[in-house]
Symmetry: C2
């Protein structure tokens, strides 16, 4: 039997074919009128996609590079920063801020929980330089209440910088940069925007640009003030990842034609709800008590089965790549992505594969085959009826 | 008339089609056995290509990011470093070392000149932490005597680190990492290795790994110790630029089948000599008094003609992209690349285009048409005869 390789990991994810083609066709020099127009157009499309008036900067790096850019441009050694961490990427913020000498105070929750305004109240003062948080924690499949966190932090200190790692959260759950007054919001190419890894972007508020004037952290490759001057001219301070810029431009064109970011979020949320409904029908528990993200669903392996067996089974029997748990969650949970270029049929197929793997592992009765798929189908019918009623 | 777009700038350069195809086909998750094998195989091929026993690290960044990695891993604030600068990229080393608090002493030569051992003698002491230099200075088309510089520096201080920006020099002029005992040697994907920008690599000596243990510069995204642990497992500390890794693997396969780095260097040197012979026949002066590089040739525009007119003419009339001078050299010189995926026929065509542009600009007599091409052809015949004699 043929087995098509399908990526269902929360990044890198399924690739948009026309964006791949645009990347492969790219051969322009980056200091030409054509490329300047492409770079400027891509940044404008990114602004529209993100729904922000803030400038959006492109960097040749993976998302962690843009996280570093936010820290080294916005902060200084000894700055007091509050990190909200309930997963592997929260820990990345901690490591990063410590690497640049910030005085880090961490608010920790168990893996799988979500942060809200109550977790910053009383923690942010006039001496707090910044709050660092993920929109969606990819390691656990939950999202944090960025709107509430930002409002509570801002009430305590109007000048505090809010740094949001939106790498997995952008285009998968609501995230309103301007309405929520977020200072640095970071995204990566290999997530909802459907292209390969290697290009990062971040939106930068006016407050953040002002903060850079007094920041004393050393920086060169990720110096955003220098990038701002270059990118205003359609260039970059250092050689850009030209192919990925072309790919991103093509992907944003596709996304705009399909309802923009709101359309992507609605799509991811539908697939996430379908996956949760299927899991419930199959007796699989969602991991953690936090607010489920649209980007991915983290499920616990049935008792007595290592989640790695599910990952391996899907891979070997069907060619589908899902993610195991990370760190202490390895072997206990598995994670299925919905972010970016996935449609309902992809999800149906994966659920059908999952049922078969569970049956062969002795963790699902044969009589239950199709139960997860049916739950997802039922949800699709309701969604379709809802859309019909609206039309 | 059709006009094919041809890149003759010293990066990004002409792309190898099969590497583009490999990039477009890449859709693997980076934490899979397949990708680990690809990453490990690419690093091994890079080692062979560079001819070094040193470990070679890959980074999702442009070449300047790997220059930063060398500085922040090998050096500490207040370290005394000697920067040899005679062009725009020498100035980049200066800016970078200063950004991270090093005590920079610069040895400056006019643009277009080359450094040799005499420029470091008496400048390196037991207190000098590092010497920073370009193998080839792309802004002026000359190469520096890295072998002599390294030997002189090492005689004065056996532990001094030698940081070589080989972004343009690798695969275009001789560069022997192990024999010359070079500590950090940096390369970029968009140069001799024939693929798009966005992937950087650097070789790291044992002395450099030891130096990292005491370096106090802050670092996170470019932390090479962390990368070393990950890359030993076929992974990277942060999401890799998967498509560019696949492209690099394919390009190195092509390069190995065509004589490896030595074959590339011989090819670039032949094209460079052909271009210089053609320039002489056309009355064009090579820029500067330094040692000409194999990577590119910098020529002065004829008196009374802005070099931008030559750049524009080649672009508009024939679709060829060459480079203007940078900074103070803009308008005075133009630069033609030979690095990577160029063959003799590409060079012949460009020389023919250049003659036509000069005739239309009134800077070459019509009777001289073909004189540059003929000089290049004559050189080709001599090279072919030489190869015949060797065979």
């Amino acid at each position: 039997m043929l087995k098509k390789e399908r990526l269902f990991a929360p990044g890198p994810t399924a690739l948009l074919p026309q964006a791949q083609a645009a990347m492969a066709a790219m051969h322009w020099h980056h200091r030409t009128a054509e490329f300047r127009k492409l770079l400027t157009g891509t940044r404008e499309r990114l602004q529209r996609f993100l729904g922000t008036k803030n400038e959006v900067m492109l960097l040749a790096a993976s998302g962690s590079g843009a996280m570093e850019a936010a820290v080294v441009n916005g902060l200084s050694p000894q700055d007091r920063v509050l990190v909200l961490t309930a997963g592997k990427f929260g820990e990345r913020w901690e490591q990063l801020a410590k690497a640049y000498g910030c005085a880090v105070e961490s608010v920790k929750l168990p893996y799988g929980e979500s942060f809200g305004p109550q977790h910053v109240q009383g923690k942010v003062s006039a001496h707090t330089a910044a709050v660092l948080v993920q929109a969606t924690e990819s390691s656990t499949g939950v999202r944090h209440d960025i709107e509430g966190i930002a409002r509570a932090a801002r009430q305590a200190n109007p000048e505090v910088l809010i740094l949001v790692d939106g790498i997995t959260g952008i285009g998968t759950s609501p995230l309103e940069i301007d309405a929520w007054d977020l200072d640095f919001v970071i995204g990566g190419s290999q997530k909802a925007v459907m292209i390969q890894p290697g290009l990062a972007y971040l939106s930068v508020s006016e407050r953040a640009w002002r903060a850079m004037e007094k920041s004393r952290a050393p920086r060169f490759y990720f110096d955003l003030r220098r990038e701002r001057k270059s990118q205003a001219q359609g260039e970059t301070a250092f050689t850009p990842a030209t192919g990925l810029v072309a790919a991103l431009h093509a992907a944003l064109e596709y996304i705009e034609a399909n309802g923009g970011r709101a359309g992507l979020v609605a799509n991811a949320e539908l697939l996430a709800r379908a996956t949760r409904a299927a899991a419930a029908a199959l007796g699989l528990r969602r991991f953690g008590g936090g607010t489920p993200a649209g980007a991915l669903t983290a499920l616990e392996a049935p008792a007595g089965l290592d989640s790695g067996e599910i990952v391996k089974g899907l891979r070997q029997k069907f060619g589908s790549v899902i993610a195991n748990g990370q760190g202490e969650m390895k072997g206990k949970i598995f994670r299925v992505a919905h972010l970016g270029y996935y449609d309902f049929s992809d999800t149906l197929a994966l659920l059908g594969q999952l049922e078969l793997v569970l049956v062969q592992a002795g963790k699902l009765e044969k009589a239950k085959l199709g139960a997860g798929v049916r739950a997802a189908q039922t949800l699709w019918l309701e969604a379709a009826a809802g859309q019909g009623a609206e039309a």
